[in-house]
């Protein structure tokens, strides 16, 4: 058993949009170690969800490789994929919408067991009830329909649904977006407990840096389909090297402080992802860009122990 559970090699996902090619994921290399929680942050539309969905086979990769537990998943037939699916699960950004509105919670939770196991009805029911208890719901919640649940409860059901299969690796897509802080705290607590109880490996997609900082071991920052910086949490928050990461960190408001509006800001909007400029894709907004940035696309390279950044000036912009 190797230490790396999931590995992405030069992964690319291109969509055809109005005749133009949109590179939602544009050459991503990433390793997830067993038991690790890796945060994936970046602005809306930078390709986080697409990356997550490609990993679990919901979106077809246009290039590159995905290795799960040392095995390439592209070559797998349907049967092989099913085995991987069982061990690799995805929790939707909006769990309310990812449940069939006509199915009761109990039936939705039982479904993965019907698909993947030969457990009989009683055994399935028992598993569903124990999973419900694990995510802090009661047995009577099994009889409710998705629209009868609150936002926080819907997230719990979303988590319960993947836990019934006892996976090893979970992709969590914005597990707390749109929740109030108190409910968010409840869900994050639950995630920590589940992670410890099942030794889960997690890819934690979020745009909330303060949440990622609290939950993850390492953080990858994505910008327009690329990973631009990746480092352990402490290192990334304390010693960010990429100008975009630094701008992102500077823009997070801190309760009790007035830290954002007084600072020099990142100007402009991200460029159209289907019409990227040559050179560094951050150049149009980068406060420190030099001539070289217009011609040469910076590659992700080591800038410190366990720390990689994709910027020509990564050494120079250290804090």
């Amino acid at each position: 058993m190797s230490a790396t559970l999931l590995e992405l090699v030069a992964l690319a996902v291109h969509f055809q949009v109005k005749g133009r090619e949109l590179r939602a994921v544009d050459g991503v290399d990433l390793r997830l170690e067993r038991g690790e929680m890796l945060g994936l942050v970046g602005e809306s539309g930078c390709g986080k969800s697409t990356l997550g969905k490609t990993v679990i086979g919901l979106v077809r990769a246009s290039g590159g490789r995905i290795l799960f537990d040392g095995e390439a998943v592209e070559g797998l037939g349907r049967g092989g994929w099913r085995k991987v699916r069982r061990r690799l699960q995805y929790v939707y950004q909006d769990p309310g919408a990812s449940l069939d509105p006509r199915w009761s919670v109990g039936r939705s939770l039982e479904e993965p067991l019907v698909i993947h196991t030969d457990l009989d009805r009683t055994a399935r029911r028992a598993r569903v009830l124990s999973t419900l208890a694990e995510v802090g719901l009661r047995a009577e919640h099994a009889g409710l329909y998705p629209h009868e649940l609150s936002g926080g409860q819907q997230r719990r059901v979303g988590l319960a649904r993947i836990l019934t299969l006892q996976p090893e690796c979970v992709v969590l897509d914005e597990p707390t977006s749109g929740l109030d802080v108190s409910v968010q705290a409840t869900i994050l607590k639950l995630l920590r407990e589940l992670r410890a109880a099942h030794n889960l490996t997690m890819l934690f997609i979020s745009h909330d840096l303060s949440v990622v900082r609290m939950m993850c071991d390492r953080v990858a920052v994505m910008y327009l389909g690329r990973i631009v910086e990746i480092a352990p949490v402490r290192e990334l928050f304390g010693n960010a090297r990429h100008p975009y990461t630094r701008a992102l960190l500077d823009a997070v408001p801190e309760p009790g402080e007035r830290r954002v509006i007084g600072r020099p800001l990142l100007e402009g909007d991200p460029p159209d992802p289907s019409n990227l400029p040559p050179g560094c894709r951050f150049r149009a907004r980068c406060p420190v860009a030099v001539a070289r940035c217009a011609t040469e696309d910076p590659l992700l390279r080591p800038v410190g122990p366990q720390h990689q950044a994709a910027c020509h000036l990564a050494e120079g912009v250290s804090a």
Binding site: G151, A247, R258, L266, D269
Partner: protein
């Protein structure tokens, strides 16, 4: 004197299970040039309060006092508020910039129509003019210049070009900046901004916050800023009002709000924020139902300090320090 004064405002929405008490005797005031943050969990009535001030509650029934420049808006009548105040002296920035922009009209036309009716130098339209609105054109070239200047103010690149675009051709941040520009154009005295940055990325949010901050400072406008993000509130607010279940729980200057919260709910809310220590504390229990809410202090089923008195009697507002008001029988120590 305060520009806007809300006193003991109640709003009820009829529902299948009975009337829902969305606002439950909330009081609030905003001074000239002041930025007041209205924070609280989803469903506590933030949007309802803004809508009540604008007189656009729909099925909701309002009761209480809403005084603007000393004039009681509820007494004035919905029609008069609509023609003379809403969109002129008080403007609104909605949470969803898509919802308030017509998808099929060019930005320039939408601004021109707004200016035709609501520009500061135009008289409120008469009823007849409103009826004939389809046939009359009150657009003026001067308005176009004002619009371009305003788009430049909100940092929309290439304003002349932007006027010719459809809302869908702008980015999310640009759309939100456009709605802010449209809220500023009538030169209002008060802007009600309902979660204007919730749909935006942090870097764009930072741009919008700074923009609002500067505009408010330059033009002396008052701002009621609704949000559930305490970090955002702390960026631009002078004062913060925490609402819980339709009533203000604590009102304090921003600094003391974060440094020395006194209400148990505020304290719990601040503790549930992500923090550097990585300790997670949530608030047990759930927000109360609006139909048949718990008696006494609305927070008592979840409150660590609750006593028998809390379940029986509603705490009145008490000023614990200058400008720091509180509704609680047993506040946390300062």
């Amino acid at each position: 004197m305060s520009l806007l004064e809300v006193q003991r405002l109640f709003v009820r929405y009829p529902t299948e299970r009975g009337p829902a008490q969305a606002l439950d005797g909330v009081s609030l005031s905003i001074g000239q040039g002041e930025v007041v943050g209205l924070v609280g969990e989803s469903g506590c009535g933030k949007t309802t309060l803004a809508k009540a001030v604008l007189g656009i509650l729909g099925s909701g029934e309002a009761e209480g006092v809403i005084r603007f420049r000393g004039q009681d808006l509820l007494g004035l009548g919905a029609d008069a508020v609509r023609r003379e105040i809403r969109g002129r002296a008080i403007t609104f920035v909605p949470q969803d910039p898509f919802g308030s922009l017509h998808p099929l009209y060019r930005v320039g036309d939408q601004i021109a129509d707004l200016m035709a009716w609501k520009a500061p130098d135009t008289a409120p339209p008469s009823r007849l003019q409103e009826r004939l609105a389809l046939f009359t054109r009150r657009r003026r070239p001067a308005h176009r210049d004002a619009a371009i200047a305003m788009l430049r103010d909100v940092q929309i690149p290439n304003p002349e070009q932007a006027l010719a675009k459809l809302p869908s051709e702008l980015s999310g941040g640009q759309r939100q900046r456009l709605t802010i520009a449209m809220a500023l154009l009538p030169q209002p005295e008060l802007i009600l901004a309902d979660e204007p940055t919730t749909a935006l990325d942090v870097t764009i949010q930072a741009q919008v916050l700074r923009l609002l901050h500067n505009l408010v400072r330059e033009k002396g406008v008052s701002l009621l800023f609704t949000t559930h993000d305490l970090g955002v509130a702390s960026e631009i607010c002078d004062r913060i009002v925490v609402m819980y279940a339709g009533q203000e729980a604590e009102v304090a200057p921003t600094r003391s709000f974060f440094a020395a919260p006194r209400h148990p709910y505020t304290a719990a809310l601040l503790q549930s924020l992500p923090n550097e220590q990585g300790v997670l504390r949530d608030i047990p229990g759930s927000i109360p139902p609006l139909v048949n809410p718990p008696g006494g202090c609305r927070f008592h089923p979840r409150c660590p300090n609750a006593s028998a008195r809390c379940a029986a009697e509603r705490p009145p507002p008490v000023e614990v320090a200058p400008g720091h008001w509180l509704r609680c029988w047993h506040p946390v120590a300062a």
